[in-house]
Subunit: 514 residues, 2 copies
């Protein structure tokens, strides 16, 4: 396995206890640019051998990563808790999700749909010209740079969804560990290395660099051997990576999940039937994980009336009693404070609730604001993400005004409808608009739960992601790291195994599933 | 139907007879920037209605376009022949391909695989958390800007592969007609409009602008309602569109097919067995359509020896006797002359054959050059495309040197192996390298024939295309204009028809084809 940066670190860095702000032992070496170069060289050298692994071998590697993560035991959860401030129960669930995600991608590799095998048999007697034998499969793009995310130190980080889907596709991965959880990152990177060793993967299939400087990530994205980038984080960070990737001699795809305010639409009949219950449930979704979910409901839209008033009263009550947990980092806390202050000082906006003040550092009160639709239509900035437990209720006069607000929103990860049967006609007129704006449209639930499955989409039009044609969660995420290759009249001996006549696995023959 | 620019043209432009350089009647109005705006507005307005069309209706529209093109009769072929200089037989074949392509996409729309319908049924009793009902389908991106290509005035132009695949996906299309064949473009645009009217498509489903200025295309790519771009043309043109698309407030995907030199590898046993025959056949592929195919074999690699000498002798003989046809435009001819002069004046390169001189304007002699592998390794510019009937034979000392040349090449549309059974071991070591470089790997054929089918890939790593994850020919081309949307717990009444329980069509349930 490629272990970079440990030979001669020029300097080191430490994690920070999210609850106290105190530095956490031990120190970790900061990777150098030479480390980035070495990791990319090793990944490139491993690429052909790794992509040639048979499905069972590759699946076993993915499963072994999960087993090694489980074998880290409670020490992993404890470390992630201290570094992120996220509750132990949440992190335990996140570990289950991370391991389950690796297992699911192992199954994807075995099932073989991802190969998209297609065969158009030769038609030697066709007039006016014969048809050659044509066979298509997906092949991996090459080494993938993955950036760990701060808000999911397990499921979106070192061995998270980007890593799992890229490895499943047959791409070596070089992870840039997130500097907010270096201990968690170090433990998980070790688990991946052990799994690779135990399952006989080529050296270089997993590379790892770390440190607080942006230059490290920039060097990774600019390395000519890197073929794609997976990122979850801020809009500024994602845009910077896109720019770097597009400025290369050979531009590469960047899958950056960046910014989403996740509108929740409360339809009149649902509001009338259970406005207060919705208000309470809404605050539960809003404050989960200190509101630090990509799918946090940062915008609520409803038509004015008694239902909305009941919703608002219940939400204010629940939020006012909410005790905060620490935010992930001081930087995120500062950005949250700045964003909520901007809302509070906007004359068109009223702050209607504020959560309890927390003890210790990095605890930020949840906030609830309200405004009217005309103000939002006049000031697009009101639709921008404030990362954390802040939300804005937009009072609309009627359905048309609500639609106008939706039409003016940027791309989103999710859009949610709360509705009853009497709302269906109005909702039906909204769905086409919502599916143009968001990657996931959900009904009578909250967007903060993201299932890892075949039909999930965790993506959406820009700026929710840099590439709305993709998802970063669910099995379709593997498609991000693949490209098609056609083999024309290649002798059977030279064809990839899965494209030979009679090979097992799903395939399309002459355009029909076979 | 949206007909732009005919109300008050500020000026007009004319086609040019490729054989004589004389202007062709009639004049056509140059579209204004207001015309671009109007076409994009109409396309955007048509989007929801068009994407909601049922498969049969949309398929009928695509087929009707083909019927209207056929109904144009020989006048279309004659006009295309005069504007492009391409032979009538070739254009007749190209018309068949264009119509066949529309029919194939109609079948794709009916078959429904492109929707990628996926259902993960709800698991209400799952522990620790229930699973919601999740359903996924692909939806179209939005209005697509298509740039007609000069070298295929039918199959890659106004109603070509980009238009057919985008319309199949449910995207309205705004075509920027290629100014080198305005008459052909005008006739085909009329055919599309008539087909749209006859099949009851929403106004705006097809928009059309034209004129020689780059500003027109730039405005189209920058229009905020345009969601994707399809382009086949020069590297400079493609890079310019990529930059414009990335510089938008909302960046959009550009599918530009740009530049490829299409290496042909002659393996020793094949060369020994039939070197001379290969040389003659090679010149046939090289000079087809004045070498103006994207997949023209611009590079030949082989290990030195008697077989290569026989190949070269036969190629020289065939090429020397080749009488040219006019090139597509004066600009393309000038670029070809410049590129071949640069090769001829390179001290490391020897010109070994030159075709016959043609009569009239825009006829450029075919050229054959040779050099050795070390020179190519020292000068990457020798691997750059010269668009036209020019090719460079690279003499390699051994297989390792040949591999080094391949490894140094940029991304390609195709890579070709000529081989016998005794070559298989060496070829097997080349295939992994070739599939990293090219979108199509072919054996014992020539790259200039591109089948329109399910398993075709006409794409490849940058700079062959701007996006190596895609193909612009074959049914997989539809994927370029789609994005996934997940519907979570949506009541059946609000679900898209193809995602309802019991709906017809292919789907994946819980990760398995059903």
């Amino acid at each position: 396995m490629q272990r970079v940066s440990e030979a001669d670190p020029t300097t080191t860095f430490q994690g920070v206890d999210a609850a106290t702000g105190a530095p956490l032992e031990p120190s970790y070496p900061i990777s150098s640019l030479a480390d980035v170069d070495a990791a990319c060289a090793a990944a490139d050298a491993a690429f052909d051998a790794y992509r040639a692994t048979d499905p069972e071998t590759r699946a076993a590697f993915l499963e072994a990563i999960g087993e090694e993560i489980v074998a880290l035991g409670d020490a992993l959860i404890e470390r992630a808790h201290r570094e992120s401030g996220l509750p132990v129960a949440r992190l335990t669930g996140e570990r289950g999700r991370t391991v389950g995600q690796l297992k699911l991608f192992a199954q994807v590799v075995r099932d073989g749909y991802w190969r998209q095998a297609r065969i158009d048999p030769a038609l030697p007697d066709r007039q006016p010209l014969p048809r050659a034998d044509l066979r298509l499969r997906m092949v991996p793009l090459g080494p993938v740079a993955v950036f760990g995310a701060s808000n999911f130190p397990l499921a979106f980080s070192t061995a998270g969804g980007d890593t799992a889907s890229a490895l499943a596709a047959g791409c070596p991965v070089v992870v840039k560990g997130h500097p907010a959880h270096p201990g968690t990152d170090d433990m998980v990177a070790g688990a991946i290395r052990r799994a690779a060793e135990k399952t006989g993967m080529p050296a270089g299939v997993f590379g790892h660099v770390r440190g607080p400087a942006n230059a490290l990530g920039a060097a990774l994205v600019q390395d000519p051997r890197v073929a794609a980038v997976g990122f979850t984080g801020s809009r500024g960070g994602g845009l910077a990576l896109m720019k770097l990737a597009q400025g290369r001699a050979v531009p590469i795809p960047v899958y950056a999940e960046m910014s989403s305010i996740n509108p929740v639409l409360l339809m009149p009949a649902a509001l009338a039937a259970r406005g207060a219950a919705l208000g309470t449930a809404f605050v539960g979704s809003l404050t989960m994980g200190a509101g630090q979910f990509c799918t946090n409901p940062g915008l609520v839209l409803a038509i004015e009336g008694e239902g909305l008033e009941a919703f608002t009263r219940a939400a204010v009550e629940a939020l006012t009693a909410h005790a905060p947990q620490p935010m992930l980092t001081g930087g995120i806390r500062a950005a949250y404070a700045k964003g909520t202050q901007a809302l509070a000082s906007n004359p068109a906006v009223e702050q209607i609730a504020c959560g309890l003040e927390g003890d210790g550092v990095a605890r930020e009160m949840a906030r609830l604001f309200t405004t009217d639709a005309q103000s939002v239509l006049a000031d697009r900035a009101l639709g921008e993400e404030v990362f954390g437990a802040s939300s804005l209720i937009i009072r609309c006069r009627d359905l048309d005004e609500l639609k106008a607000v939706i039409a003016g929103l940027e791309g989103q990860l999710t859009a949610t409808l709360h509705m009853d049967e009497a709302d269906h006609a109005a909702a039906a007129s909204l769905v086409p608009l919502l599916e143009r704006k968001a990657g996931r449209v959900l009904a009578n639930g909250w967007p903060t739960g993201v299932e890892v499955s075949h039909a999930m989409v965790h993506g959406g039009p820009f700026p929710a992601t840099s590439d709305g044609r993709s998802t970063s969660v669910g099995t379709l995420a593997i498609d991000r790291y693949l490209r098609p290759v056609c083999y024309q009249d290649l002798p059977a001996a030279l064809l990839p195994a899965e494209l030979r006549d009679g090979a097992a696995g799903p395939r399309m023959i002459d355009g029909k599933s076979a």
